[in-house]
């Protein structure tokens, strides 16, 4: 029996529509159009309808906003790790910087919420880029280690110098006008970010980014300053995180040290690994799965982090391609066993 098993292997063939749609004019019928648009519409319409479906329970609507924030962070991580080649383990830095900047703008300068969030996004991206600038020549493991240290350092410094409200944090921020605006602002931002990043990585800039990831010496040799491109990548990713952080601060109406906490560093990574790295939509799916699990486990306190770590470990060891790549393979290809 074992011998019979050995003499077979799985053959994979692309579906016709997949092969043709890699070219420019692909679509021959409504059926094929539905085949191509289906998954995309599922995500877009699904996310837009979700708040209405969850209307009966405000609690899960709140969870949805948190999912969006983690998704923004996870997309940033995915972009930085799989398109620029910088693995940043310190996602909490971006959330924290975004939260503190929007809190300061709101409480100290009295700016309205619709000004603080965009400002915090751009300024926060700038601040994070400047902070990480000296580390940009590093790569691989070394960048990961240093970026892991940054949120810790930020939290310790705020604690030690007792600035920005010290351990109490900054209280009394404006909230969103109502929970619908809260949800739809985040969901629309998320969809726009997905669309924009997908376009970006297919442009020339994206090509340079991937070049930096695959062989930075070669990119350098062709006269391109890789540090600038890395900085641009970090700016994009950290702006996404800061957008999430600023929204989070306004949702909680509070910014504090716990926004530099471990959760914000580990969950996006877990979501990316679960959803599938390098797919941009994968991290969103990962967050849709992991954040509700985390909410269900809330009663168990820190067990959540342990569960995440175990899920993360399982996926990275046994299914490192992630759900998204697995799903799209099943969707786009015929698979069958052939005798050898």
């Amino acid at each position: 029996m074992a011998k019979a098993q050995e003499s077979r292997r799985k053959e994979r063939l692309d579906r016709g529509v997949k092969v043709r749609s890699d070219g420019v004019y692909a679509v021959a019928s409504w059926r094929e159009m539905a085949f191509l648009l289906g998954p995309r519409l599922l995500l877009i319409v699904g996310l837009l309808v979700m708040p209405l479906v969850l209307m009966p329970s405000p609690y899960w609507q709140k969870v949805l906003t948190i999912i969006c924030i983690y998704s923004l962070l996870a997309i940033g991580f995915d972009f930085l790790a799989h398109y620029v080649g910088l693995v940043s383990l310190g996602g909490a830095l971006y959330i924290g910087v975004g939260a503190y900047i929007s809190a300061l703008l709101n409480t100290e300068m009295g700016l309205p919420i619709w000004a603080t969030i965009p400002l915090a996004t751009v300024l926060g991206g700038g601040v994070c880029t400047v902070l990480l600038w000296p580390c940009l020549p590093l790569r691989g493991v070394y960048f990961a280690i240093v970026s892991l240290m940054f949120p810790l350092l930020a939290a310790r410094l705020i604690e030690a110098f007792d600035v920005f409200g010290g351990t109490d944090g900054i209280m009394g921020l404006d909230g969103f006008p109502n929970r619908w605006s809260e949800m739809y602002v985040l969901i629309i931002c998320l969809l726009l970010v997905l669309f924009a990043l997908r376009r970006l990585v297919n442009e020339d800039v994206g090509l340079v980014f991937r070049g930096v990831k695959d062989n930075d010496q070669a990119v350098k040799a062709s006269g391109i300053d890789i540090t600038t491109y890395k900085a641009l990548g970090v700016f994009i990713a950290s702006s996404l995180g800061c957008l999430g952080g600023a929204s989070l601060a306004h949702i909680y109406m509070w910014a504090g040290i716990s926004q530099f906490a471990l959760d914000f560093s580990i969950i996006p990574i877990a979501a990316t690994v679960v959803g599938g790295g390098g797919t941009l939509a994968g991290p969103v799916i990962g967050c849709l799965i992991l954040v509700p699990i985390s909410e269900l486990l809330r009663d168990f306190g820190t067990l959540r982090v342990a569960v995440y770590a175990l899920i993360l470990m399982g996926f990275i060891v046994f299914k490192s391609e992630g759900l998204m790549s697995y799903g799209s393979r099943k969707y786009n290809q015929f698979e069958h066993w052939v005798e050898i």
Binding site: P137, I269, V273, A309, M313, V317
Partner: protein, 288 residues
């Protein structure tokens, strides 16, 4: 005088914490981010054996050491071996294992204050006008002893030489019949063992808390990076640099700044001299 003596003790503490990490990294190029978790685990197991099973101290220590060494070896054999060579996956997976252990322990009720190990030796002695208790002296003595033992092991035993060979050139070692996976298991077990030794020597000075795991990890990483990853001399020198810097900041600025010093040391080293104090040029190319 205070600063000198406590700086020395603090440096020995740091060196103890970092030895296991640098050993594993030096041999198998595996950044073991579960190092801190193994440290706490050793202390907790020892406490359980002492207080739940009522074993004598020596036996409990021996069993805890053996247990943690086995856990370390198993961690490599079961999990890390599958992702060997993918450096980012290695970091994430070992970090995840560490988190799972630490947060699992925290969920299991490991809180500060309740879990303490008693000191091996009670009492204190007057050293040049500064009173130092015996346990702290023991830390320095055992630390030096451990470094000496590991040095002897690596340079004068078959297994140690095999490990060294693998660290220098894995392919060449493979052609000479050294099984690199078995060596890596051995190095992980040894690294975990030395984390456990450090835990059992250092933990009687305070109580066993989960936060110590993160602290030890940060310190070990700091020492190893400042000293140059995988370099022993560098690690010991770096633990003295950071150790004294920490005591100085504690005296002049306040205790909050201890960790800040370590993290700043990492960041500055990586920026100014990425291969560390004793790193080699070849490693520099890998990093920058």
């Amino acid at each position: 005088m205070d600063i000198l003596i406590y700086g020395f003790i603090n440096s020995a503490t740091l060196a103890l914490m970092a030895l296991g990490f640098t050993l594993v990294y030096g041999v198998s190029r595996l950044p073991n981010f579960a190092h801190g978790a193994l440290y706490v685990l050793a202390g907790y197991i020892c406490w359980l054996l002492l207080n739940r099973l009522g074993l004598p101290y020596i036996l409990a220590i021996a069993l805890a050491l053996a247990f943690v060494a086995v856990v370390g070896g198993a961690m490599y054999q079961l999990i890390l071996v599958r992702i060997r060579g993918m450096s980012i996956s290695e970091i994430i997976a070992s970090y995840a294992i560490g988190l799972a252990i630490l947060e699992g322990l925290r969920w299991g009720g490991l809180k500060g204050g309740t879990f303490t190990l008693s000191a091996f030796l009670e009492g204190s002695v007057d050293l040049l006008g500064v009173s130092v208790d015996f346990q702290r002296i023991l830390v320095v003595v055992l630390g030096a002893l451990l470094v000496g033992l590991l040095y002897f092991f690596v340079n004068h035993t078959r297994l140690g030489l095999a490990l060294k060979g693998m660290a220098q050139d894995e392919r060449a070692a493979l052609t000479l019949g050294i099984d690199s996976d078995r060596m890596a298991v051995a190095s992980m077990a040894l690294g975990s063992l030395s984390a456990a030794v450090a835990a059992l020597i250092l933990l009687p000075l305070g109580s066993i808390v989960v936060e110590a795991g993160y602290h030890v990890l940060i310190m070990a990483v700091a020492v190893c990076i400042v000293g140059g990853l995988g370099s022993w001399t560098g690690a010991i020198l770096a633990s003295f640099v950071i150790g004294f810097a920490q005591i100085l900041t504690t005296v002049y600025l306040g205790a909050h700044f201890q960790v800040v010093v370590a993290i700043l040391a990492i960041i500055l080293t990586l920026i100014l001299r990425p291969s560390g104090l004793f790193g080699k040029q070849k490693e520099l190319e890998e990093r920058v």
